[in-house]
C-alpha cells in the first residue's frame, strides 16, 4: 500500500466510528487469544447445585444446565467463534478469488459461463447455501465452516472478477508488459498492490458475516456440536430458558452482535477511507428545492393601480444565506404578447431572475421585491393552492437541458396530460387527446404513437419540442424559456427558436427568452435586457442593439458575436477579465474593473438605470455615443478589447 493510502486509513481509524471499531476488534482478538488460556478451567467447572441459574453475584450472566458459568464460557467461546469465522472467510476467499479471476484470464465462452455462474450463485442467500452444504458434508463445525466458505465464495468471486477485469485492462499493466517486467515482479509490484486493498476490506467484512452465519448455524444445531461450544450454540441453549432466565440468552446474543459488528464496521471504515474518506454522499446542486417564496417587504401602492402588464417586477433581489446576492434590484415589465430577451454571461443572474419569476427558486434562497405582479396578482400574497392554479395555467417554462427536464420514468404523454388533468380537470382520455394535439402542433410526427413513448426514445430536439408542448397544454400568457437552445445542436436550435416564435404569436402569449447568445435573442425579441453581475445594465430594442448600444458591456457582447463579415484571421473578440462574484459588495459599477471607459466615479458609485431615449435605458456614467466611429461592433471592440 502506498504512503498516502496508509495515512488515509490512519485518519479514518481516528474517527469515532473508526476508534470504536478498532477497540472492538482489538478486544475480540485479545480475548480469542487469552480467554481460553485464562478461563478454560473456570468455564468447564461443573456446579450442579448452581445449575440453570439467572444472574447472580457469583455468575453475572447465570449458569447453564450443568451449573457452568456462562460469562466464562462466553469469553472462552470467543476463540472458537472467531477461529471458525476466519477459517470460513479464508475458505471463501480461497475458492472465490481464483474463480472470479477466470473470466479475465481465459475470456471467451468459458469466461462468460463462469460470469453467469457467479451471478447466479450470488443470488442465493448465504445461510441457505451453508445449510445445504452442511447437509452434504455432515453436521458439525467442519460442515459449517465448509458451508459458509462455499456460500460466501461467490461474493469473493464477484469482487475478484471486477478487480481482475480492471487490472487486466489497465494501462500500467500493458506498459509493464511492454517493458518486459517478469511475471513474479509483475504480480508483486503491479497487480497485488492494486487489488490488496479491496480484498483486505472484503475479507474483514466477510469475517464478520461468517461470524453471524456460523452463530446462526450453531444456533440451529447444525454448527458446532457439544461438547464444543461457540456463541451460537450458547444462544440456542439460552433461548430455551428465555422465560425463566432471559439473561442467559441475551449474553451470547450481545456477544455475537458486537463481535460481528466490530469486524464489519472495521471493514467499512477501511472501505470508506479507500473510497476517499469523508466526502459527502451527495453534493447539493441548485434549483431543486420546493418553490417556497419567502414573503418580501410590503408591495406598497403598486397594487392600487390596475396593471395591464403580464409581468411587472421592481427591485427584485435574490439572496442566499452566506451573503451571496446573485440578483440585485432587477426591474422589468412584460406586456401581453411581447417577447423580451435577457442576455448576459453565465453567472449574471439571468436564470435566477427567471426562476424567481417562475416561483422555482432553490429553497435556501430569499426573494425580495418592492413590487411583483404576475397576471395582475402578487404571487407572494396568494395561498399555495391559488398560486398553483394561477401559475399552472398561465405560465409555461422551457428549461435549458431537455435531456434532463423530462421524467425518464414516465411516458411523454403522461407528463403532458397531467397538466390538463390537474389544472383544467380534464379526464385522462381527453387530456391525452390534448397532449396528442399539442405534440402535433409543435410538429412532432405521429404524435398519437409518441405520447406512449418514453423520453429516452426522443431525440434532444424532440424533447425540447415536447417540453414546449407541455407548456402549451394550458393557454399560457407568459412563456419563460431559459436557454432553450443551448443544449441543442445548431440546426435544431433554429427550429426550436422558430417554434417558440410561432407559439407565442399564434397563442398571443408573452415570452421571456434567456440566453447568453446575443444572436439568438436578437432573432426572436424586440426588446432586450442586458444583465451583468445580477443587475440590468441596459434595456434596449433590437435595432438599437445592432446600431449602437450605450453600455460598454453590451457593446462588447455584441462584438463577441461573429458575423459573416468577421475577419476570420483574427481571434474572436472576447471580454477580458472576469465578472465579480455574487458575494462582491463594492459600491461602484460592477463592470468598472473590465471597462476601458471606467473613471474614479465608476468605481465609487453605481450608475442608476436611466432613460436615454424611448425604450432605451442604460446604467452607465460614460455611455457610448451612437455611431461614434464606424460600425458599432467596431466601436465596441476598440473600446473594450484593450
Amino acid at each position: 500500500m502506498s504512503e498516502p493510502s496508509t495515512s488515509r486509513f490512519r485518519q479514518a481509524l481516528r474517527t469515532p466510528v473508526g476508534i470504536t471499531a478498532s477497540i472492538g476488534l482489538a478486544a475480540i482478538i485479545v480475548l480469542a487469544i487469552i480467554a481460553p488460556i485464562l478461563w478454560s478451567d473456570d468455564a468447564a467447572k461443573l456446579d450442579i447445585l448452581a445449575a440453570s441459574q439467572g444472574a447472580s453475584r457469583a455468575h453475572p450472566l447465570g449458569t447453564d444446565a450443568l451449573g457452568r458459568d456462562i460469562l466464562y464460557r462466553m469469553l472462552v467461546a470467543t476463540r472458537l467463534s472467531v477461529t471458525l469465522a476466519l477459517l470460513a472467510a479464508g475458505l471463501g476467499a480461497l475458492i472465490g478469488i481464483p474463480l472470479g479471476a477466470i473470466p479475465a484470464l481465459v475470456g471467451g465462452r468459458i469466461g462468460k459461463l463462469v460470469t453467469g455462474f457467479i451471478n447466479l450463485s450470488v443470488a442465493f442467500p448465504t445461510l441457505l447455501v451453508a445449510i445445504f452444504v452442511a447437509a452434504i458434508i455432515g453436521v458439525g463445525a467442519r460442515g459449517a465452516v465448509a458451508g459458509i466458505g462455499i456460500a460466501i465464495a461467490p461474493y469473493f468471486a464477484r469482487l475478484s472478477q471486477t478487480l481482475s477485469a480492471s487490472v487486466a485492462g489497465s494501462d500500467y499493466l500493458a506498459a509493464a508488459r511492454m517493458l518486459g517486467v517478469r511475471r513474479v515482479r509483475l504480480l508483486r509490484r503491479h497487480i497485488l498492490p492494486n487489488v490488496a486493498e479491496p480484498l483486505l476490506i472484503t475479507v474483514t467484512i466477510a469475517v464478520g458475516d461468517s461470524l453471524l452465519a456460523l452463530a446462526g448455524l450453531s444456533f440451529l444445531g447444525l454448527g458446532v456440536q457439544p461438547p464444543q461450544y461457540d456463541w451460537g450454540r450458547m444462544l440456542s441453549e439460552g433461548l430455551s430458558r428465555i422465560y425463566v432466565t432471559p439473561v442467559v440468552a441475551l449474553g451470547p446474543a450481545i456477544a455475537i452482535t458486537l463481535g460481528a459488528l466490530s469486524f464489519v464496521l472495521f471493514g467499512e471504515v477501511l472501505a470508506k477511507a479507500a473510497a476517499g474518506g469523508g466526502a459527502p454522499r451527495w453534493t447539493r446542486t441548485d434549483l431543486s428545492a420546493l418553490p417556497v417564496l419567502p414573503a418580501g417587504p410590503p408591495t406598497g401602492d403598486g397594487d392600487a393601480i390596475p396593471v395591464p402588464d403580464v409581468l411587472a417586477v421592481e427591485n427584485l433581489t435574490v439572496s442566499f444565506p452566506g451573503g451571496s446576492v446573485p440578483v440585485r434590484g432587477v426591474s422589468l415589465e412584460v406586456a401581453p404578447g411581447e417577447i423580451i430577451g435577457i442576455v448576459g454571461e453565465s453567472g449574471s443572474g439571468k436564470t435566477l431572475t427567471a426562476m424567481a419569476i417562475a416561483d422555482l427558486l432553490p429553497a435556501a434562497s430569499q426573494l425580495t421585491a418592492s413590487r411583483f405582479t404576475l397576471f395582475g396578482k402578487d404571487p407572494r400574497s396568494l395561498g399555495e393552492a391559488e398560486r398553483r392554479r394561477l401559475l399552472g395555467r398561465s405560465l409555461a417554462v422551457v428549461y435549458q437541458d431537455p435531456m434532463s427536464a423530462l421524467n425518464p420514468a414516465l411516458r411523454v404523454g403522461r407528463q403532458l396530460a397531467e397538466v390538463s388533468e390537474v389544472h383544467d380537470g380534464l379526464s385522462k382520455s381527453s387530456a391525452t387527446q390534448r397532449a396528442v394535439d399539442r405534440l402535433g402542433s409543435v410538429r412532432i410526427a405521429n404524435p398519437a404513437a409518441r405520447v406512449r413513448q418514453y423520453p429516452h426514445e426522443f431525440s434532444g430536439g424532440m424533447r425540447q419540442r415536447a417540453v414546449i408542448a407541455m407548456g402549451l397544454m394550458s393557454e399560457p400568457k407568459l412563456i419563460i424559456a431559459d436557454e432553450p437552445t443551448t443544449a441543442l445542436d445548431v440546426t435544431v436550435q433554429q427550429q426550436i427558436l422558430q417554434l417558440l416564435r410561432e407559439v407565442s404569436t399564434s397563442g398571443g402569449s408573452a415570452a421571456i427568452l434567456i440566453s447568453h447568445d446575443v444572436a439568438v435573442v436578437s432573432q426572436l425579441c424586440r426588446r432586450v435586457l442586458v444583465m451583468y453581475a445580477g443587475r440590468i445594465v441596459e434595456e434596449l430594442d433590437v435595432a438599437t442593439l445592432v446600431i449602437g448600444p450605450a453600455h460598454p458591456y453590451t457593446a462588447a457582447l455584441v462584438a463577441s458575436v461573429p458575423t459573416m463579415e468577421s475577419d476570420r484571421t483574427q481571434p474572436l473578440a472576447s471580454i477580458p477579465g472576469r465578472a465579480p462574484s455574487p458575494y462582491d459588495d463594492s459600491p461602484g459599477c460592477p463592470f468598472a474593473p473590465r471597462c476601458p471607459r471606467a473613471s474614479a466615479r465608476c468605481t465609487d458609485l453605481m450608475p442608476p438605470l436611466e432613460q436615454r431615449s424611448a425604450g432605451h435605458r442604460v446604467a452607465c456614467w460614460h455611455p457610448l455615443q451612437r455611431g461614434a466611429a464606424g460600425t458599432p461592433a467596431g466601436v465596441a471592440v476598440e473600446d473594450v478589447a484593450v
Partner: protein, 331 residues
C-alpha cells in the same frame, strides 16, 4: 402529418416492443437454465455425501438388508444416468419421493408446511415494502436540502443499527421484550393474528431499515433532478410530485435491493421459524438436515432455490416494466 414520418414512428415503436420482448425472452431463458442447474445440483447433492448416505441416515446399527432395501427404494442402485432422468421426471411431476426417516411422502410434507412459511415470508416482505418505501420517501422529503439534521442523524443511526443486527438475534430480543417482559404476544407457535406479529417483525425490521435507507438516499438524489423542477414548474400538487414523479425513479435501486432482501427473507424464515417454533419449511429443513433425511433436504433445496430464482426473475421483470431503460442496458 405526412405518411413518411408516421411510418418512422411506427417503426420506432416496433423496435421498442421488440427490445422488450427480446428482454423478456432472454430473461425467461436464463430462468429456465438456472432452474435446470438447480435441479442438477440438487440431484448430485445426495451423491456428494461422503460415504454411504443411506447408511449414514439409518445409523451404524441398521442391518445391511435394510440399507440395501432403502437404497433400492431410493433408486440409488440404478446407473447414474437412469437415476438422473428418473429424478428430473419425478420432480417435474411434483414427486419428491419418500422421507428416509418417517416414510412419509416428501411432497405431502412440503404441501403441508409450505403455506405457513410463504405466508410468513410474504407478509414480512409486504410489510417491509409498505413501511420502508413510504418511510424512505418521507425521510427524503423531510431531510431534503440538508434540512432537519437531527431527524437525519436519528434516522440513519437507528436504521444503521437495525440493519446490522441479524434477524435471529432481533427475534430473541423481540421475544424477550414483548413475550417475556410484557406479555403482549405469544412467544411461539402459530395461532391467529397475534402469533404473526413477532416473527413478521423479526423478519421485516432489518429489511425495513436497509430498504428505507436506500429509498431515502435515492429520493434525495431524485429530488435534485431537473425533471422534479419541471414537475414543480407544472405546479402539480406535492402529492403528485412525490408519488408520480419522484417515486418511480427511486424504484430501480429499491427493487434491486428488494429482490436481494426477498432471498434473504427466505433464509431468514429458517432461523425465525426455529425461534418461534413455526410449523413451516424452515423447521422441517433443520430437522431433516440434522436427521440426514436426504430426500427431504433435496426437495427443500429445490423449493427454496426455486423461490429465490423466481423472486429474482419477478424483480427483473418488474424492473423492465417500471424502468424500460433497464431492458436496454441489460443487453
Amino acid at each position: 402529418m405526412t405518411a413518411a414520418p408516421a411510418s418512422i414512428g411506427a417503426q420506432r415503436n416496433w423496435w421498442a416492443g421488440r427490445t422488450r420482448s427480446a428482454y423478456l425472452f432472454r430473461r425467461t431463458a436464463r430462468l429456465l437454465v438456472s432452474l435446470a442447474l438447480l435441479l442438477t445440483a440438487t440431484f448430485f447433492m445426495i451423491h456428494l455425501v461422503p460415504g454411504d448416505p443411506v447408511r449414514a441416515a439409518l445409523g451404524p446399527t441398521a442391518p445391511a438388508s435394510l440399507v440395501a432395501e432403502r437404497k433400492a427404494a431410493l433408486g440409488l442402485d440404478k446407473p447414474l444416468v437412469t437415476q438422473y432422468v428418473d429424478y428430473i421426471r419425478d420432480v417435474l411431476h411434483g414427486d419428491f419421493g419418500t422421507s428416509m426417516t418417517t416414510g412419509e411422502s416428501v411432497t405431502e410434507v412440503i404441501k403441508q408446511r409450505a403455506p405457513a412459511t410463504f405466508k410468513l415470508a410474504g407478509i414480512a416482505f409486504l410489510v417491509a415494502m409498505f413501511v420502508a418505501v413510504p418511510l424512505g420517501v418521507l425521510m427524503a422529503a423531510l431531510t431534503r436540502d440538508s434540512r432537519r439534521r437531527g431527524v437525519e442523524l436519528g434516522f440513519t443511526a437507528a436504521t444503521g443499527g437495525l440493519a446490522a443486527i441479524p434477524s435471529f438475534l432481533l427475534a430473541v430480543g423481540l421475544v424477550y421484550l414483548f413475550a417475556v417482559t410484557i406479555h403482549i404476544f405469544p412467544v411461539a407457535g402459530r395461532a391467529g393474528f397475534s402469533s404473526y406479529v413477532l416473527p413478521v417483525a423479526a423478519l421485516a425490521l432489518a429489511p425495513i431499515a436497509a430498504l428505507s435507507r436506500i429509498v431515502r438516499v435515492e429520493g434525495l438524489r431524485v429530488l435534485e433532478q431537473d425533471y422534479i423542477r419541471t414537475a414543480r414548474g407544472k405546479r402539480l400538487p406535492a402529492r403528485i410530485v412525490y408519488v408520480r414523479h419522484a417515486l418511480p425513479n427511486t424504484l430501480t435501486p429499491t427493487l434491486t435491493l428488494a429482490g436481494l432482501l426477498l432471498g434473504g427473507l427466505v433464509a431468514g424464515t429458517v432461523l425465525v421459524e426455529n425461534i418461534f417454533a413455526w410449523p413451516g419449511l424452515g423447521t422441517t429443513l433443520v430437522q431433516s438436515v440434522a436427521e440426514k433425511d436426504y430426500p427431504t433436504v433435496q426437495a427443500l433445496a429445490v423449493v427454496f432455490g426455486t423461490v429465490v430464482l423466481l423472486a429474482n426473475f419477478a424483480v427483473d421483470i418488474a424492473l423492465g416494466v417500471i424502468d424500460p431503460r433497464s431492458t436496454i442496458l441489460e443487453s
